[in-house]
Structure formats: C-alpha cells, structure tokens
Symmetry: C2
Subunit: 591 residues, 2 copies
Amino acid sequence: MSADRRLGIATVCLSGTLEDKLAAAAAAGFDGVELFENDLVASPWSPERVRGACADLGLTIDLYQPFRDFEAVPPDVLARNLRRAELKFDVMRRLGADTVLVCSSVSPDTVDDDELAAEQLHALAARAAEHGIRVAYEALAWGRFVNTYDRSWRIVRAADHPALGVCLDSFHVLSRDVDPVAIRTIPGEKVFFLQLADAPRLRMDVLQWSRHHRLFPGQGAFDLRGFVGHVLATGYSGPLSLEVFNDVFRQSEPRAAAVDAMRSLLLLQEAPDTALPLAGHAFTELDVDDVTAPRVEAALTGLGFAPSGRHRTKPVRLWRQGEARIVLNHRDPSGGGRVAVSAVAVAGADPAGSAERAEAFLAAPVGSAAVAAPDGTSVIFCRDDLGWLADFTAEEVGEDSGAGLLDTDHVGLTEPFDRFDQAALFYRAVLGLEPDDVAEFAAPFGLVRSRPVVDRARHVRIALDSALVRRGTWGPDVREPQHVAFRSADALASARRMRELGAPLLDIPANYYDDLDARLALPPELLADLRELSVLYDRDEHGEFLHFFTEVLGDRVFFEVVQRVGGYAGYGAVNAPVTMAAHRGRRLAGR
Amino acid sequence: MSADRRLGIATVCLSGTLEDKLAAAAAAGFDGVELFENDLVASPWSPERVRGACADLGLTIDLYQPFRDFEAVPPDVLARNLRRAELKFDVMRRLGADTVLVCSSVSPDTVDDDELAAEQLHALAARAAEHGIRVAYEALAWGRFVNTYDRSWRIVRAADHPALGVCLDSFHVLSRDVDPVAIRTIPGEKVFFLQLADAPRLRMDVLQWSRHHRLFPGQGAFDLRGFVGHVLATGYSGPLSLEVFNDVFRQSEPRAAAVDAMRSLLLLQEAPDTALPLAGHAFTELDVDDVTAPRVEAALTGLGFAPSGRHRTKPVRLWRQGEARIVLNHRDPSGGGRVAVSAVAVAGADPAGSAERAEAFLAAPVGSAAVAAPDGTSVIFCRDDLGWLADFTAEEVGEDSGAGLLDTDHVGLTEPFDRFDQAALFYRAVLGLEPDDVAEFAAPFGLVRSRPVVDRARHVRIALDSALVRRGTWGPDVREPQHVAFRSADALASARRMRELGAPLLDIPANYYDDLDARLALPPELLADLRELSVLYDRDEHGEFLHFFTEVLGDRVFFEVVQRVGGYAGYGAVNAPVTMAAHRGRRLAGR
C-alpha cells in the first residue's frame, strides 16, 4: 500500500462536540473526516463555519453521512425523500462536501425490487449531479432487502449514472457470510468510498454488534488486510476512512482515541512481519519509595534474587537471578508507600531501529530508545548483548540461592477499561506483538478481560488485564494490579526453596485443591505438593502450567513464578479469581 | 402467594468474597443461599466454617451449584464423573447442603440419548441418596441436547429415582420459545428447586445473554409472575431463589444489591395493582445555597413562578405557578454553588399508607411519610388536599405572569450506571410506577440509557437516565444532571412570554431546525416559531411534543417546559443529544 494514501475518520468515532472531534482528528494527523449528520445537527456552528474550521485544521470533509431509507418506495414517499435530499444537498454545498452516503433502506416503505431501487437511485444521482455531488450507496448488513455488497453493486450498475457508486464498509461486508473476493469485479471508479472498521466475532444481532462493538483495525477479528487488498485491487483511489461505533470510544478522551485510530491505519498499511525481532525481556523497572523499597528488596531476596549493580548516575539498583532482572528506581523516595511498573525493557538486535519504528507509530519518545505506552509505562529498547549493563557498577554478589529462576516469562499490566483495546494495539504496532485470544472471567469484584500480547518467537509476553465495569469506593484494595512473572524449570522446587528463603508467598485456600482433585484427578503426590506449597495448576491439550504468587507489595505490584510444561501457552486464567480473592484476603488480614 | 415462602439468593448474584456475600444476603433478610462453587473454591473458609457462618447469620444453604457435564457419556467418562460427584458430595456434607444442581451437559462427550441420560442420572441419584443428597437436574437453554424444561422432566421421569428431580430456572425456560404452561404437569414434589431471574429481551447468543444480562424480577421483560404461578401450581414448596448473572451486579456494593434483590422478590409476591393511586406531583424540592439561590429564583421568576410561602420552621421557600410547585431548601447556605433535586413529593389520598408500603419494600424512612430513594433523593408522600401547605406562611403574591404553566409533567433524575436498574425497581415497588421501554441514545459524551417510570393514570412521571460508560476527567461539565419539567398547554406562547420575562432559556442550533425541516416537513409557520423560540419538536403515531429548556443552574439542575399534544407519551429522547450538546456549549461559553 502507498503511504501517500489519504486517511480519514468519521466524527462518530470520537467523543465530544463537533469542535472537540475535529480538533482531535487534526491533531492525530488525519487528512479528512466523514461528517456524521448528528454531530452537525447538535452543533452551534453553521455549515459554513464548520467548513472554515476544517479548512483551518487542514481537514477535508470527505463524506456527509448518512442519508437513509431512500430507495424502492412508492411515488409519494419518493417525492418526500427527494425533497429531504435536496435540503441535505444544500447543507453539503454550504459544507463544501461532495459525496453523500446513502444506506440501503430499512424502512417499511421499501419494496423488494432492484429495478425500482436502481431507477430511483438514478433519479437521486441526477439531482445530486446538478449540485456537483456524488452518491455512495452502501448495503447495510441489516438492510431490509439490500444487505450484501454484491447486491448494492448490481443496483448501482443497473442505475448506470456517473454520480452513483458504491460505498464499501468492511463491517457490513465481513459481518456476513459473503465472500469479499467479488469486490475485485467492481471498477475502481465506481467505488466512491471505503469505510473501515474491525470487530470481535460476536454471536448477536448484527445491528447491535455494529452499533456498539466496532473496533479500530487490528483490535478485532476481521481480516482487514485482505479486505483492503480487494478494494485497492479495483483501482479505488479514495481515502482509507474509519467508521467505528463503539460504546467505549464514544466516551473516551477524543485526542487519545484519534491517535489510536491513526495508529491502526498506519499498522494496516504496513507489510506483515516488519517488526524487528525481540530476544526477550531485558529487565522490568519498578518505582519504589522509602516505604516500599525494603519490602520489595526483601521479597526479591526471598525469591532468590541478588543485587548485582548500581546505576552510575541514577538512584537505581539492579537485581538479578539467571536472566531475570528487576531494576528498582528510587526516583521518588517519599512516594507514599507505592510500587509500580514504570518500564518494560525488551532486548533486540537494533534498539534504535525499534525506537524509530515506535515513533513512526506515534509513540511518544521518553529519553533515547524509549517510548511511553498509553498507560504511562515506558517501553525501553535495549541491545541484546547486555551492553546496557555498563551503566551499572557491579556489586559483590553472594552465592546463588538456588531458587531456580531462569528469566522473565511475562509482565502483567492492568489497563483502565477505556484504554484496554488501545494498549493491545499499541504493543502490536510498537513491538510487533500479536494479541492472543481475549479471555473473560468473573473475578470476585467484577468481570475481568484479559488479552495477552506476545511476539512470534514467544520471547516477550505482556499480559493485559482490564476490569470492565468498576465500582467506585467498594472494591478490591489492589487497584489496577501489575505483576512480573519469572520462569522456573521446576516450580515446586522453586516454591520450596523460596519458602525457606522467607519469600512472602501467597497462601491458596484448601478448597482450591479439593476442587482441583475433583476436576482433574491429579496424581496424589503432585496434588499434595501443590497443596503444601500453594502452587496453582492448569493444563490444556498442549501442556501443563504451574504457578504461584507473592503477596501484593505496596499498593498494586506482586511477583509470580511460572513453569510451562510442554506447549502450554496460556497464563492460568482459570485460577485468576482464586488468586485475586487470596490477594484481597491477605490485604484485609494485614490491616 | 404466601408471604411465608422462603426466599433465597445465589451467591453469584452479589459482589465480593464469600464473606461479603453471605453478610449482605443476611442483612437483606434472605432465608437461604445457593452456594456457587467458585465462591467456595476461592474462599479461605473451610466448608465447616462456611456452614457455621451461615448458621450464625440465619442462612441455610439451599443449593450447592453447579455440577456440570455429567450425563449421557461413555462408561469411562461416567466413572470419572461419579468420582467427581462423590468428592462434591463430601464437600456438601461438610457444608450441610442437601441439594445439588446438575446442569444438562454441554460437553463433547455427551450423546443424544435420553434413555442413557436417565440411566446415568439414576446412578448419580442413587449415590447421592446414600449421602442424604437430592439431585436437581436443570436444562440449560444452551445444553447440547437437553435444553428445554420439558425434556429435562421427561428424563427425570424416566430415571424414576426419589432423589432425582428437576430444577426450573425462569431464564432457561423463558429465553426459549417453549410454552411454560406444561410446567403444571410436573408433580410439585419432583420440582426440587426454583431459580428466578428476569432479563431484557435481547437478540444475542443465549449463553452470553444469560451470563451477562440477567436482572432481578421486575427489572426485565419476562413474565415472571406467570412463570412462578405455573411452578407454584405444581405444589412446589421450596424457596423462591434468585440466580442472576449480571456484569453490573458483579461489581456493585453487595449490601445494596441484596436489598434490591429482596425488594424484587417482595414485589413479585405482591398482587398486581395494589399500590395506592397517586394524584400527581405535589412539589419538587431543590437544595440551593447562597450562590445558587439567587440564580434559581431568577430562573423561576423568568419562568413565571411566584414565591408563595415560607416554611414555618425550616429555611425553605415555596414557589408556585398553577399546580406546579418548587420548594427551595436553603439548608446548607455555603453549599459551594450547587443545586440538586433533594426530594420528589407525590400527592395521594393516603400518605401514611403509601409510606407504610414503601417501608415494607425496604425503603429507608426519612422523617414522617418520606423515604430515601437509592440515589439519596427523598420521596415524600403528601395528602392531595394540599393540607401540607399549612406548614408554610402565605406570601403576598403579585399578578400571574401569564407564562401558562399548569403543573409538573415529570422529574428527570440521572442515576449512576450501577444504580439504574435499582432505581427503576425502587420506584416500581415504592410508588407503584410502571417502567416504560428503555431508550438508548448516543449523547455527545457517551451512551445514555433512559427509562421513565410512570403511574397507570400518568399523573406521576419520573424519567431515569444513566450514562452507561463514563470516563473520568474528560466529559460533560454537567455531571448526573437532574431536571424538573413543567407542563404547558401552549409551549410556544409560554416560551415567548418567558423570554419576555428574562428566563435563562437554552438556545438550540439552527442546524437542528434545518434537519427538522428535512425530516418532518413541518408547516413553515410552525417551524419558524420553533426556530425563533428554540423550542424542540417530536411526534409519533399518538401525537406531538414541544419542549424547551433553561440553561443549567448551578452544577446539574435545569428546568424544562413541555407540551403534549394528543396521546404523545414520550419525552423527546430524539432531541436529547442536541440539548445535551447545547447545555455543554452554554457552560463552556459561561466560563
């Protein structure tokens, strides 16, 4: 795809007044907007002022939308609809917009007659042409009779008017079981507009699915790359324009949402697999303060870590065990008893190149070879030769404690519900990580959605969680928890050794093991060990998973130790409600 | 129905740890619980301790649930399932629970063979009986083969074991197109358990519908009264027990949710139409402070109200026009520039009786003949002979300003998203109001859900709104807005007179009228008047609606004037996004 292609966004994608939306679209670098009629109707700005504001912001109005329920109607209804259209053409003249979207009818007035639809759309196009306006006819997936793109195209072809073409919307095409390949048979000059939206695969009423659950490309399950390929193959030369109805975006801060939208289009235009390969997690940085530093250091010691370096210029200390590394940053000594993951550092062959790519995807740089994730966490790119260790003075390190940690398995971050899809897209674009399937589970305090992102080689994993509906004052004491998970080759041995070393490990209720026995009938010796050591267990068709946790240190951070046996690629989500309840129990007991 | 029937609630209805849930259920007056297995598994309490805690709280454990994927399987799977069941029977013995829920299988192991299912369920029941346990077999609406109650009953009948009966769940029955009347053919002693849940009518995957969108009885669209009638006709003597999976309740404060749950069962057991009739809105009380009182008084004056009395003992003043009355309460002079609806007063023939009914529905009394709504607003019951005016000294009142207000049409209250369904149920129970259909619309800052509640005679209307997904710092300046709407016989004349009187009326954008013209082709004179006076318009098959608004006074309250022509029963929801944007525009301009 050409990077020169114009990029657009429908105002309905963004929250706020029309003024807010236009400013956000311009700030994110969009070339044009689809102006959603309701946004204009509710605006105190005249069409002329909207036109001027767009011009000042460098935005064109690529589409006025939508015009509904026009075609295949009795003559009296046609007369009313043509009057309505003429009034809208006048608004478009004042706006300086030259393409109007006409959706296939859902009206009880419409009849199942493609010839009549073509004849009436021809009449509409003739009127439009007098105003220099083009009509883009779109098959809604829930159109009363016209609900597939091929049928809308047959009608447009039959109408045969130069001011009439089709609008192709990825949602309306891909939500139905119609092969999109026939798009290639449409001449490019008859594709008047292209609207893009991704979506999760949901089994529900298609109208509700469309109105509430669309996503930006790369956030859902649709093959948008293939879809856009078909459309561009026609010779379509118009913009790639997003039309995303989403309950969360409707109320999200519009500037951040617009950046996210732009990032999705940049990613869509990139060739697959161009992200630079990653070697693994280099380190995870935690911010600690005078209250929490001793607790975290004691926990790390209990897990078998040893201090192994001090930063030459910053109040930062490196802890290490095998290839697992934690950096404690003491930047705010009076932090109020908090611990937080402040940076995720990944190793690769070309940190500068990775940072450049990240910035090309609109990530804000923070220092050299580091960018800010949407939640404020830094992503740091390190060379995989450990050259960055030169920033640290080596410390005398005692003997290995024998706790058996190998490296970092994953970092777990909890995102606010309205940044969850953004976060997944950010890591996808910036690090080239691929999202795994979404998991949802009922935690003790509400529904949690989980979507890990992982690189192809499974060297870097970030587990993103979000509480979907969060009450205010009542709730878990641990808000937006974060964790770092280390890999062990033998979780039971690690747990045993860590208990000897005094690690603050989380106790798991006996009821969990009784249920595990009932569910999985594990060998009695294994079950006894798991129970004794408070190690949790899961298995699937690929392998087994053993994992255990520390208590929460400070207000939100804990550590996890995992052992993957065979090809188990998950994160033990089945156990999450149990560990969440246990974490809360410990916090209450500790009061 | 008998008020002596035992009432129960599944722990899965409530948020928190098992300890939180049991405490909330007991505090709301439930007799028993269905213990959801995951709640036990995540609990640090042993089964014996749970049993003791329930006994201490006066709760029985009426059902242990769920046991899944048992029946109609190959022999090796049956052996595993029986082992699993024996382990659960042991947990039940420790809990002191004597009934287990077995859901119809969704497993790939199960086959379509009712005879085999009956044979294996017989074997399970025989094992259960040895432990004094009964098995309640339930057809899940998405069971692989057994997914209707009549089929589950045929299997139970064929199995013919005294320890095997059916569990009837209103969701699983009413979500499918199977007539529930055949429930009456089941002998009552074979109905082992009755689970109740309401739900909105949704067109979506039934499993997702069930897991996320169930509601307490009276909050949804199901005919639960009819359903329970069928079940009780069998002679069923067990508890009425709620099993409601709901994303919002999963994270709501559990004590309030449990009260709501109990209120729903009390309402379900009440005979229809027993609420005392209401004569109308007596008055609406607003809390004002030193900053806002002058603004509100000026607005009322501009709307043609006149001061007409001072309370004999409180810093309260009455404003009146026709039968429309506003009481301004100056209880907190240094309130920080706030205005809020503090009380909705309704008139009726028997205020004491209405208050008694409200308290029977668990409404907290506040003073005499007044109760607190879930959002803290008071509901005051007044005698319809205006005897309450004796609390006020009459003020000299000038001439009628001729603004034409007749009375109060409705009060609009915005509820937090997690109190919305509670609020509707509260007014339904306490005032006998019936909910209208839910409307949802895309407001400038996110989705808004609206559900008016109204009495049969349409004398008292409360319009409940809720922002479904609300972002934090970014958003409208008006948080949880409230309004009082007055009725006029001629909205255009009222608007004209109020503009002369200097009322702070809200201006509506010209674009709105251009669109109204395009949509409805109103007579040009009417359109010109509406446009000139910033009056909004709607119509439906029953009649017409004209309405206009004041600006927001203080932080959240505004007034509305409405004219209903013919049988129009709505609230002009189609115009709400426009007025919300206009209200924001005024607030921004006023900065």
